[in-house]
Symmetry: C2
Subunit: 241 residues, 2 copies
DNA sequence: TCAAAAGTGTTCCGAATACACCCATGC
DNA sequence: GCATGGGTGTATTCGGAACACTTTTGA
């Protein structure tokens, strides 16, 4: 982008010269949520570089001056973990003065929900390791990443009660009890099975498949599929858990 | 803040030198909502400086490198409009590449709700004018401020349905119909009077006062006061409009 | 007396809750 | 058979929506 001469503009009452206002660093952090074996997971990297070398951290990096915030989040996620085609969602910006030891770095937080069995992250560039962690059983994290993660979980909880985003955590075909388990893990709340079924089926966004579970030592459950189109055409408030 | 030597850090795979990542501008924008005569208002300034000189805009300015984001929002608001002691709330960050003609400026959006009759804004520094506008009847705005305002209104609507923030728009003493009118203006929705009363009184957060309206040509309404302590001690979901 | 808004009560309906109970499969 | 989870039905409660009605004031 071509810059006009900034000195012709009167941008602030502050006595500092204009150029001093352009010394912020900007980064993005990507909180990737997954669901596996009944627990809510988050994808973390181990830092292979200072500062906080060897600490676990939320995948994130500095934004390139020529890229958009959202594209930057996707790019950074790909570079560090190899994950692609994951739509991310902004949730909060963190800008405490001392949050980064290198300088004044503001970070914009993004989150996403993925089917963890479809995505096989590989650590690259300065990430020395990538791993899924149980959200409720975390190591200590670099920078202010604990605060960031807490805020992300909070946002996710609010979101999932109003919109059918939870399906992104499950395989395309799932049983109703798997769905219920996912919601229970996410919201840390127990639901009544018959009532959960009624509510979710009453929402009319699930398509029953002609398929059942295999190799289970009990009555096999019917498989369902989430129909996004059906949801879009209704647009009611469906998920009031 | 003292900076360590950045060159000792390996912060990004990108080939650009480290210093190139510290050329972002950072600003804050403050969307101040008020309520007056049945309509939802927003406080705008007229720009007395380039770019977008003379355009109406959301009060905002560049962040000083040594200040916190939230403090910056309060400081900027005070400098441009004279308003003080207004707690602001972050809602979204806007960072399109071309959103600012001078360079790459990221802006963090804050909003607040005020009793407009208590606050008398005065334009200062580079704001040549300040004025309340009906949210649904706006002039065209500078930069991407229309987008920012839309997002702020959206956030406010979501918020007001879950938490009793709306009271910040009203005088300390109000009638139930005034309260209802405020919610109706904010949510652009009509409510049934008897049902509204029942719901709001049932929430048990209003204190009836021994006082009634004066000089009205009809039966004077009882005045109420919002009791924050009572709300805090309950912490239920109260406002499901 | 009338207009205008304040304020109350009652009915209806649908959604959420709390259960009790039956069904299919592997071992 | 029996353990295990899958799946259904029902009775009750609660909150919201609709609406008819009475009350109090100023003019």
């Amino acid at each position: 982008m071509e810059k006009k001469n900034p000195d012709t503009y009167f941008l602030s009452e502050n006595n500092l010269p204009f150029e001093d206002f352009f010394h912020f660093g900007l980064s993005v952090d990507c909180i990737i949520f997954g669901y596996h074996q009944g627990s809510l997971r988050v994808l973390l990297i181990q830092r292979g570089a200072e500062p906080f070398k060897d600490s676990w951290a939320i995948p994130g990096d500095l934004v390139n001056p020529s890229e958009d915030l959202t594209s930057s989040a996707s790019r950074v996620l790909k570079q560090l973990t190899g994950l692609t085609d994951i739509p991310v969602q902004q949730f909060h910006t963190f800008g405490s003065i001392d949050r980064h030891p290198v300088g004044r770095v503001i970070t914009v937080g993004y989150y996403a929900l993925v089917r963890s069995e479809n995505h096989h992250p590989i650590a690259s560039t300065w990430a020395s390791n990538v791993k899924w962690f149980d959200v409720y059983d975390l190591p200590s994290l670099a920078f202010d990443h604990e605060e960031i993660l807490t805020k992300a979980v909070e946002t996710l909880r609010t979101k999932v009660r109003k919109e059918p985003v939870g399906f992104d955590l499950l395989p395309p075909k799932f049983t109703l009890l798997e769905l219920q388990g996912m919601y229970e893990a996410l919201l840390r709340e127990r639901f009544d099975k018959p009532n959960f079924r009624k509510k979710i089926l009453g929402a009319d966004v699930l398509v029953p498949l002609d398929e059942v579970q295999k190799n289970v030592s009990h009555r096999p459950a019917k498989l369902f599929h989430f129909d996004k189109n059906r949801y879009e055409s209704q647009k009611k408030q469906l998920f009031n858990f």
